[in-house]
Symmetry: C2
């Protein structure tokens, strides 16, 4: 009986690989270096395939017991076809048809999604989402990304731009330019970059003393500095932390009246700031959000960290092959 899932979380430096059983329990996890020498992607994908062959052999597992292979990649993916429309970090300037390339080596189903969606699916299945049918994950890192799961399925939308949570306007003063070409996106005020944007904007205006003044002057302040100083009671940093929390809470309040998830999962580097950020988010969320929509919804920290990606890559096969009863 087929009972294995292969999973690859492809990153710019390393590829995390995993072998899971059909209940998404992990049997093996390891990493290989990402080969970015080939802009067509063929070399890297063949290397990944070879790594799976070798590991299955080592573990006395058989390729014919594999149900499917899930792949997460750092770029915009057409979920229907498995084509990634370029991936800067992988040195893939153009389209790479991951499903087609990998299908030359194997004959089981291959599902491909972007890394943010994969991480959200991982947290749903094996992390803070407790396998609820309606879960939203927000990644607060250098940028702001996310994944929305409704009725147990990822929301890709008609052209794959679903769950681009970092890119709607929340700063109507449009103070900061976003990488996307617009101004005032959530990402410009609620990411690690956004924290620094707010620090630079407010510190000349406020007369509050701050322990991070030297860092600001030397232009080397980070989001972590701000949250660490907040925890020690630095008033300027608390002010910034509250601003950031309010923006994130606003996004959560909108998510609640749109998707009404059971869990809103906050992940990414910034979620490591701990209670100082998350408790401020919860307070403003309760204040802002339509009462029926916030009932029973929990804002929680991500649990899987860097393992969310492979758990979610495996989750693609669980969700779209096993649960759909498409196992051959």
């Amino acid at each position: 009986m087929k009972n294995l899932i292969l999973a690859a979380d492809v990153g710019g430096t390393t590829c995390k690989l995993g072998i899971f059983d059909n209940h998404l329990d992990r049997l093996a996890k390891w990493s290989i270096q990402t080969d970015v020498s080939d802009p067509t992607g063929v070399v890297l994908l063949k290397t990944i395939y070879s790594a799976f062959v070798q590991k299955l052999n080592e573990l006395n597992l058989k390729m014919e017991d594999v149900i499917g292979l899930g792949v997460g990649v750092p770029g915009p993916v057409d979920f229907e076809t498995g084509i990634v429309h370029g991936a800067v970090n992988l040195n893939w300037p153009g389209d790479v048809n991951i499903r087609e390339i990998l299908s030359q080596f194997v004959n089981f189903p291959i599902y491909v999604d972007n890394d943010a969606n994969a991480a959200a699916l991982g947290e749903k299945h094996k992390g803070a989402g407790h396998n609820a049918d309606d879960v939203v994950a927000i990644t607060l890192g250098t940028g702001v990304g996310g994944g929305i799961i409704s009725n147990g399925k990822l929301v890709h939308g008609h052209n794959g731009s679903g769950a681009e949570i970092g890119h709607f306007r929340v700063d109507f003063d449009q103070r900061f330019a976003c990488n996307c070409g617009k101004y005032g996106c959530l990402e410009t005020v609620a990411s690690a970059t956004g924290v620094v944007n707010l620090v630079k904007f407010y510190h000349p205006k406020l007369t509050i003393k701050s322990s991070i003044l030297e860092l600001i002057k030397e232009d080397r302040v980070t989001a972590k500095d701000v949250f660490d100083a907040s925890k020690k009671g630095d008033l300027f940093c608390l002010f910034i932390t509250e601003r950031v929390a309010n923006y994130i809470a606003y996004a959560c309040s909108i998510i609640s009246v749109m998707s009404n998830p059971k869990y809103i999962i906050l992940g990414g580097g910034m979620s490591e700031a701990g209670d100082i950020l998350i408790e401020n988010i919860k307070t403003e969320y309760r204040n802002l959000t339509f009462t029926p929509a916030q009932n029973g919804t929990e804002i929680v920290k991500a649990q899987l960290g860097n393992d969310a990606g492979i758990a979610g890559a495996a989750g693609l096969i669980k969700t779209y092959v096993i649960d759909e009863e498409r196992v051959e």
Copy 2:
């Protein structure tokens, strides 16, 4: 072979009833008066059943050819169970288990949803949604409601508060109280009531002459008056129309980065305002929205009007019984 769908759109004054074939082509449509005398709902639901029996007889159709019955109601519905948690307009103060009550009379599947979700599903299947898998409908009436369809399925969320599009804060000055108990909700500035709110707020502040001044003074101005005067070039009304359009465009821009629908369908009384409103919405939407998420998305007017409700009630059976291959 079973090939019929029964559909009921239950309203406070009349119930619209319909018989459809399994492709959602309508075979019959009629109305009965809504009997609001019984707070348990049994009398009304039995009357609806009897009306279907009579109409099927008239048309020489057989109850045993019915695949299922879809019902839309004006109240919060638990989609899993078919229970409506009260419906003010029907004089139902408490829970009414519509599925259980109707199952006493028939033995085919019964699906129940709130009227906004039903209308959205109707527009998806037979109206402006062209049967796309990702469609969002916004109803701009006395309030603002909506329905979100992702991956072909309605987004109910974990407690049925999905697609409560009227209830997130967009007016950060929180000038107007919302029926929901919060301030500044989209509904307070982008519904027919919201138009009047904005008129009353701005007219003492602006020195622009307006043709609707008498109506404002006599406190009987309506949203229609504002849009009609806008079309004739009234500058004050154009100013209000632009404000309203900008709020709706903002909602559309968020919807695009969350659900990324192919069609955003604007319905309800206010959508009758025509180009003066919708063209302003489109302009601001293009300005606001994350470029990849707006590509290929169309903002369109609803096509079915008052018939969206029964089309969508029938659509529940198409979506959740026929397309899921659950026809017995």
